[in-house]
């Protein structure tokens, strides 16, 4: 097998659609790019507007935005681990497809787990709803701050939910430990070559090089874990460029410093990874104690940086702990119920906003006219950044499963596992509309003749 390609045949002109719009509508418009990361887009958008209007929001506003963000991370990661990616592990990858999902997990782990998962996912959503004003698509972000303060009653409610989420997060990590890390077969699979990539890793870090979802500098580390870049989002165009391939509508971002060398990993190729694994690799430690202990444990077990794609699932669980702990810090902050939540805006211009979406670094870049309208908008979306890596992961998994023209049983699942680990959002990545996820593997022989097609709708 020579090559494999991840083809994303959908396109939409979201960036064009935004032209001529009122700048302050962008946090509402962009939160609808995708049904799953609206909080991320909303927050990146409002930060870009802060920048475009030359205003620094008061501390309380930033803390409220970050607190809502913790709620989002919690529900998003819980959803992915328990319903989508994580079940690959919790129920054996050899189990029949009919059991390799949440139903199989409920069977295995007990009926109660279903309720706990749903409950805590709902808590995360409720936290966003309380601060954001609406479930799913928040409306609290405005240039210069947020639109409403937190009451003491709301504060108490959020705190209660976060404590429960922290317990559930720790339970989830224990579950992973019990079912996956204590199982030699899985650990071998995690460490195996078909599931390994030696790319650069990128994440948002604070001034102590600790992951922060809401703000910081963009940091890139190399294959030895050494820092090679650290920059402010305003300089992203100096460091990140996008490459276009004719067979897909997804743009492939890469590091300009190393250049585009094709779909390869290693030191000479500019391809990097974002998302839970990418950003934990790019951090020196985590800012909250329990998450940091688990952070150290993962790197002790797998080395630093971790190259194993399947470790994304572990990293994701560690992040739920961090989000819950960080949320508890914020909700207990003395300023969190202050009414000082907005600073006045200045004249419009160019603005950049960056956050860590559940899936990775997200950048919004706007040029706002004198009249306050969007002249141009550009988005670097998390899954776009991972597109190169995902393609390579799919390729490696496929190569391992296809020998002498024979496709091994379970090929599709092995490829899917590589792909699912990234929690990809193809809607965001190609700025396309969400739909189904059909998966098709076309096998061509050396003469380019189609030999076999393996499909899944």
């Amino acid at each position: 097998m020579k090559e494999a390609y991840l083809q994303i045949p959908e396109l939409r002109g979201f960036e064009k659609f935004c032209q001529g719009r009122r700048a302050e509508d962008m946090p509402q418009i962009t939160s609808r790019i995708c049904g799953v990361c609206p909080v991320a887009h909303h927050t990146a958008s409002v930060k870009a507007l802060d920048d475009a209007f030359g205003v620094d929001p008061p501390p309380t506003a930033k803390k409220l935005r970050e607190l809502a963000y913790c709620g989002y991370m919690i529900y998003d990661h819980i959803l992915h681990f328990y319903f989508l990616g994580g079940v690959d592990f919790l129920v054996s990858p050899d189990a029949p497809p009919s059991k390799r999902n949440i139903f199989g997990l409920i069977e295995k782990a007990g009926l109660n787990i279903g309720k706990e998962i749903i409950k805590h996912r709902a808590y995360g959503q409720k936290i966003v709803e309380i601060i954001g004003g609406k479930a799913t698509h928040p409306v609290h972000g405005i240039p210069g701050g947020v639109s409403k303060p937190l009451t003491e009653e709301e504060r108490k409610e959020i705190e209660k939910m976060l404590r429960s989420c922290l317990d559930f997060a720790r339970f989830s990590v224990d579950l992973f430990d019990k079912f996956v890390l204590k199982n030699e077969r899985y650990v071998d699979m995690i460490k195996s070559d078909p599931y390994s990539l030696k790319t650069y890793n990128m994440g948002l870090v604070d001034d102590k090089n600790r992951l922060n979802f809401y703000d910081g500098k963009i940091r890139v580390v190399d294959q030895e874990g050494k820092e090679v870049l650290k920059f402010d989002v305003r300089d992203y165009q100096k460091h990140i460029a996008e490459h276009v391939e004719e067979w897909s509508y997804v743009k492939f971002p890469y590091l300009k410093k190393m250049g585009w060398k094709g779909l390869k990993d290693g030191k000479d190729s500019g391809i990097y990874r974002v998302g839970p694994l990418g950003r934990l690799n790019a951090s020196d430690e985590l800012a909250t104690p329990i998450a940091n202990e688990e952070f150290k444990r993962m790197f002790k077990e797998l080395g630093k940086p971790v190259n194993s794609t399947l470790a994304y699932h572990w990293a994701r669980l560690i992040e739920i702990i961090y989000a819950a702990e960080r949320g508890l810090e914020l909700v207990n902050d003395s300023e969190i119920t202050s009414k000082d939540i907005r600073n006045p805006v200045g004249k419009p211009g160019e603005g950049f906003g960056v956050v860590e979406a559940a899936r990775g670094v997200l950048i919004h870049h706007y040029k706002v006219s004198e009249r306050g309208l969007i002249e141009r908008a550009n988005f670097i979306v998390a899954t776009t950044s991972n597109a190169g890596a995902i393609t390579m992961s799919v390729r490696k998994a496929a190569k391992a499963m296809i020998r002498n023209g024979k496709i091994k049983e379970g090929l599709l699942n092995m490829i899917e596992m590589a792909f699912r680990a990234y929690d990809p959002c193809l809607a965001c990545a190609s700025h396309s509309l969400p739909g189904g996820m059909p998966l098709e593997v076309d096998l061509y022989d050396a003469d380019g003749k189609l030999v076999k097609v393996v499909k899944r709708d």
Binding site: F83, I118, T136, M437
Partner: protein, 149 residues
């Protein structure tokens, strides 16, 4: 009997907004809680928990242009769906299955989906003429579901 009517759609995506338009026309006209949402999967499920009957109004995409503007009704029966259709958005049907299996009791005994067939979903702020024509018909269907039982 407590009813809820939920309009599902994205106001920026042209014909996908039709579900929202329909439920807006029902405000004050029927004995039901009326909601609008852009959520799918669990988010949508959460909107209907605690009611005896739920009517969900949404656009359904068809490739057959001749079908555009038709109004179709489905009743959700006991499901055994094990397929997850998108990378990270759980389908509504799967969310119901999971909730049922997890022993969540507040799921409505009857869930009806009123679907309006559309062909194209793209970035537009207007609903197309063909689909607009279906709105009064769909309103009647929802009214029937709420008043008739």
């Amino acid at each position: 009997m407590k009813h809820v009517v939920v309009g599902v759609g994205n106001p920026l995506l042209g014909d996908d907004a039709v579900g929202l338009e329909i439920v807006r026309k029902l405000k004050g006209k029927i004995d039901a809680e009326i909601k609008e949402t852009m959520a799918c999967g669990f988010g949508l499920l959460e909107e209907i928990l605690g009611y005896d009957k739920a009517v969900i109004v949404d656009a359904l995409v068809t490739n057959d242009k001749k079908e555009v503007g038709k109004v179709k009704k489905f009743i959700i029966k006991e499901l055994n769906s094990n397929s997850l259709k998108t990378p990270h958005a759980l389908s509504f049907l799967d969310a119901i299955s999971i909730a049922r299996k997890s022993g969540i009791n507040e799921i409505p005994k009857k869930i009806v989906i009123v679907g309006i067939l559309v062909n194209e979903i793209d970035f537009k702020e207007k609903i197309s003429e063909e689909v607009k024509k279906a709105i009064p018909r769909a309103v009647k269907v929802v009214e029937g579901e709420v008043n008739g039982f």
